[in-house]
């Protein structure tokens, strides 16, 4: 019975992943990260993604702070933050977040404050959505691992 549970969870995970790929939230780089997991590094993806969350939230906070500054908006610094966010998003396969960064960067290069504010809103929204979906994914993964772990004592009969 627990075997069926594991199958269902795996199917749930694949369904969620398929949806995220279809929506362009994730791209094949995320799959590449999954391929790097093995016994020696079983939590690699969640470790990297958690670092990504920490870095991204810091950068998003900085971006908002820079934009609130009306007098001397430091577009150069904004560009640097965006490059960082773009790079790390691309490294984990966060495709849509990366694409919004590109649009944001175009606005900042033109010193377009209104455009920047607009894209920041979109960026924050995309990031939140990505984070919630990845958390969902990791939760299913955790359930699967926990569920499978309970089975082994039964084999010793």
């Amino acid at each position: 019975m627990l075997g069926f549970g594991a199958d269902r969870l795996r199917a749930d995970m694949n369904r969620l992943l398929a949806l995220l790929f279809h929506q362009g939230i994730l791209d094949e780089q995320f799959l590449q990260l999954q391929q790097l997991e093995d016994e020696s590094s079983p939590n690699f993806v969640s470790e990297v993604v958690n670092i990504y969350f920490q870095e991204s939230e810091r950068l998003l906070k900085n971006l908002r702070a820079l934009l609130i500054e009306r007098e001397l908006t430091d577009y150069k610094k904004m560009g640097n933050h965006l490059n960082q966010l773009m790079g790390s998003s691309s490294s984990i396969g966060a495709n849509r977040v990366r694409n919004v960064c590109i649009a944001f960067r175009a606005n900042s290069e033109q010193n377009n404050r209104a455009g920047c504010l607009g894209t920041l809103e979109v960026l924050e929204h995309e990031y939140c959505y990505l984070k919630s979906k990845l958390h969902e994914l990791f939760q299913i993964e955790q359930q699967r691992v926990l569920g499978a772990g309970v089975r082994y004592p039964m084999h010793q009969n």
Binding site: E28, Q29, Q32, E37, E39, G87, E141, R144
Partner: protein, 239 residues
């Protein structure tokens, strides 16, 4: 009572560990990775470890030079033999010293110029690539970095002499241009429990799974995958 099947043996043959993927060479290769992004450092570290390299990761060009023993203008290597670096892989865009500036410093050093340097960048800018290769970079990888990219780098680390660096350089550009043309559509993921038809995909066999999360990992080493679409610009407007 019927004996339930034992999955441990099957699991062992299904799962790939680092040794199976890439046989370790006699001497371990030591790579210095330079990147200001912690996310990227984690990824590159993992990729290099999976290709049986020893990795030292630092977060800036300055720290890289310190590690290599290049201090000030003395150009003398103060490092120990055990810290000998076989390859340097560095990000291009970094605050302070860029990867390009780091590359130049290394190539200017009599003690370090022989070490192959690979540049990574998220921007696929031809002028940037050319500039790095002209300055003596061994290769230029467009981020995000994949296992197949790092596999290719093994050739430099083991010290195979190629027919001519010029020819290699042309080959790299051709490979990069053709891979950028490939349509990179979303990979096919089977949403039901039948095995996937194409790669890259999530492996989802219908038999009961074992506890390791690596079951969600494709059980074969990564084949050559289409690279992520990047826009190729012919001029280098940004840094």
């Amino acid at each position: 009572m019927a004996r339930t099947p034992v999955f441990s043996r099957r699991r062992r043959s299904d799962q790939i560990d680092a040794r199976d993927r890439f046989p370790t060479s006699d001497s371990e290769v030591h790579v210095l990775a330079v990147d200001d992004s912690l996310v990227d450092r984690k990824v590159i570290e993992r990729l290099l470890r999976l290709t049986a390299c020893r990795v030292t990761a630092v977060d800036s060009g300055i720290r890289a030079l310190q590690y290599l023993g290049l201090q000030d203008e003395t150009n003398s290597q103060v490092g120990f033999d055990s810290l000998k670096v076989d390859m340097i892989i560095t990000d291009y865009c970094m605050p302070g010293m860029t990867g390009y500036e780091l590359l130049k410093k290394i190539k200017e050093s009599s003690t370090l110029r022989e070490i192959p340097v690979v540049i990574m960048s998220s921007e696929n800018v031809v002028a940037r690539i050319d500039r790095c290769l002209e300055e003596g970079a061994e290769d230029f990888i467009v981020k995000p970095v994949k296992l197949s990219d790092v596999k290719r780098l093994r050739e430099y680390m083991v010290g195979d002499e190629k027919t001519g660096s010029e020819i290699n350089w042309m080959n790299k550009r051709t490979v990069r241009e053709s891979s950028c043309d490939e349509a990179s559509s979303s990979p096919s993921i089977s949403s039901d429990s039948s095995p996937p038809s194409s790669s890259p995909s999530i492996s989802s066999d219908s038999s009961p799974s074992s506890s390791s999360p690596s079951d969600s990992v494709q059980s074969t080493p990564s084949p050559s995958e289409p690279s992520s679409p990047t826009s190729t610009q012919s001029d280098d407007g940004s840094k």
